[in-house]
């Protein structure tokens, strides 16, 4: 098969959308936090915690959707920790974020070891199965790619629509965007900046955790150490790439996932002449290029990373 022909096969796009799904959840989560003015670098750890929490719930006998809910709650709790430190206490968002990532990751591994002390290879669960949408999934390439996915992927796309609607069409979305741009505008209109920011960080963190859970409950069927593997950091870049807009960030996530799916297929074709690391590197190199081209013009939320203290002189 020719390298270009890959781009027109349904299986390639099915894989791309599947790879994109966890990124979409987590990117939306990060986007909500940043729109409210909080950079959430806890994303990598929160995704790890979500991946474990969802998977373990199912392993312990819960059903799949309960697992998703538990993952979201675990994420919201780490979000609460992050928000308490960064919003009312106004601590450095960089330091707190890295701290939350380290804490969430090691706490997850610790609980894993406590819960499964004897295991050498992690147990498997029965993950979400593809749910082809009748009719639509028969449309060649595009239909197959989009409509023969698992329910969790459909939820990812739905999340983008909901986030966009909430941010641009509802009063609470208005308050979130204003809190990230000029918190004193929120305060002057009688709304608590602290409440808006903390709420945004908790909801955003819940979405990140669901993104992590996608990996253990839909893409794969088990929990491994290091399985998030930098996806959280990619999502931070995707938010910038998307200029803090849900639709653009979605395109970014799919683009990155497509690069990733493509490089796997190129690896198989190259026959081992080119070292495989070169292909692994490709999506990241292309992301940097895309950032240079797109994100230089991005206008970021003006109050991003600036703590707001009421009544401060």
């Amino acid at each position: 098969m020719d390298a270009l022909e890959i781009l027109f096969t349904a299986s390639f796009w099915v894989a791309a959308i599947r790879i994109a799904s966890p990124l979409i959840f987590a990117t939306m989560g990060e986007l909500i936090c940043e729109r409210a003015g909080v950079l959430n670098l806890g994303i990598e750890g929160i995704m790890t915690a979500g991946a474990f929490a969802g998977w373990f719930t199912v392993y312990a006998g819960g059903d799949l959707w309960t697992g998703v809910l538990v993952a979201a709650l675990a994420g919201a709790m780490f979000g609460l920790l992050h928000a308490t430190l960064t919003v009312p206490l106004g601590l450095s968002q960089h330091v707190v974020g890295i701290g939350v990532t380290l804490l969430a990751t090691s706490l997850t591994y610790f609980i894993y070891r406590l819960a499964l002390p004897e295991v050498t290879s992690p147990p498997k669960i029965e993950p979400f199965q593809p749910l082809p949408i009748p009719g639509l999934s028969k449309v060649p390439v595009l239909g197959e790619a989009l409509f023969s996915q698992t329910p969790l992927t459909y939820l990812a796309f739905l999340t983008v629509a909901v986030v966009a609607w909430v941010l641009y069409r509802t009063p609470v979305g208005l308050a979130v965007r204003a809190a990230g741009e000029n918190p004193s505008a929120v305060e002057a209109q009688g709304i608590s900046v602290t409440a808006i920011r903390m709420g945004a960080v908790m909801v955003g963190s819940a979405l990140m955790a669901v993104g992590g859970a996608f990996l253990t409950m839909s893409a794969f069927n088990s929990f491994f150490f290091e399985m998030i593997n930098g996806r959280g950091w990619i999502c931070i870049a995707l938010v910038v790439f998307g200029s803090w807009r849900p639709g653009k960030a979605l395109i970014g996530a799919i683009l990155f996932a497509a690069f990733d799916a493509y490089q796997v297929r190129l690896q198989q074709m190259s026959g081992g002449i080119v070292p495989y690391q070169v292909f692994l590197m490709m999506p990241y190199a292309l992301s940097i290029l895309a950032l240079i081209l797109v994100a230089r013009r991005a206008t970021y939320p003006k109050a991003l990373m600036i703590p707001y203290q009421k009544g401060e002189r």
Partner: protein, 517 residues
Amino acid sequence: MSVTPAPIVNVTSNPVLRLSGITKRFGRLVANDAISFELKRGEVIALLGENGAGKTTLMNILFGHYVADEGTVEAFGKPLPPGDPRAALDAGIGMVHQHFTLADNMTVLENIVLGTQSLWQVRLDRAAARQRIEQLSADFGLTVDPAATVSTLSVGERQRVEILKALYRDAHVLILDEPTAVLTPAETDALFRTLRLLVAIGLSIIFISHKLHEVMAVSDRVLVLRAGRLAGERETKATDRKELAALMVGQEVKPAEVSPANVGAPLLVLDRVSTARHNGAGLDEVSLILSAGEITGLAGVSGNGQAALAALMSGTQRPTGGRLSIAGQAVGDWSPRAALGHGIARIPEDRHAVGTIGDMSVMENVIAERYGSDRFSRMGFLDWKAARAFAEEIIADYDVKCPSPEARIRLLSGGNMQKLILGRALDPEPAVILASQPTRGLDVGAVAYVHRMLLAARERGAAVLLISEDLEEILALSDRIVVMSKGRLSAPSSRGERTIRELGELMAGHGGEGQAA
């Protein structure tokens, strides 16, 4: 006019607002000391005072941004819970802050409706909001496009959005904190017309200012604050500017006396100079001569090229065309260091962002322009003794109120900061002085001081370029006036030659298309 009067509670004799014994301390500083007053329906109170007198603090307490240490606020006969802006808004108090509280990335409409609809409804009702905003705009002369993004608006438009925000919430009391500081004379007139319309339908207004002529023009009653205390209360009809100034400062203020100019040789000559854009327009073939012993006043609405001219003269911007010569010699290489080397002293427009480095000490700031000179360094090492001596000299000579030369400069008031900048700029006896909005935001006492220093430099034979948006200041100090509009310069006029009206027309871009000779 189709004004529907706001449904105001039946209070004919009762005050709409009563402040009793408000006291607020920040550490050892007493910002408000037992202040009490009442506001009646349909009344305009002016709150007059120098910077740091406690005006803004008092209003922030009223609005719930700060909590008072003592005292109570009553609105329409009911006590207002402290520290809750929502309660103030619900009681019908609207505030137009000095630093606008608008989100730049959102539209006018979004900024206005923020917080007026329940946060948990699934859809923002834009249509009804838009209609109401347009009605209010039309009724009160507050023209602004509801769909425009705030970042694209002028300062005057932003202020109108702020007023609309309050009216949209049915405010019965409107607090305006230094509303004219950022407006052109025409915009100020329009604001005053709006305020009169609002009073006519029964709103009460608190107007905070340190500009006497505005207070006289707009208020019914004047409260004067000095150092946190209520220094006096006067009916506007029964007082005059002189008395108010004396109350405000605590003593009589003498305006700077101007002797006839003794004009010498041209020191800095711009010959058809053009530049790139800088905070608005760039220069478009501008010719200007600054001569020794003369103050040249540059009037204009901000954004018309004044910033570009200031940047050019301070060396931060290079000409893209034309010739710049100093003391008869064409300038080749141009940089901030070259400008300083040629004896150009700079008093920058934004003393916080450009004039000083807030978190560095007074001592470090005063040597910032010359730390490499022999006076302040030896073999590459800073001479802190000399720096401290210089800082102490300026503090003594210019009567700067500051805790010590080690204090971080951002803790100083605007007036004291400006005195330090003046001291730094004038110490080497510069040949040319660029004074950009040198008195913006300063109180009466500090303004008079800055004026005296500029006049003294002129007596000494310096060429001064005074860039100001305050026409009164331009008229009082300038020996020659030029007006800038869209990057071009009007022909100069000598003292008293053009009226305020004629200058205003030139500022608006009408009038003669002349170039300075």
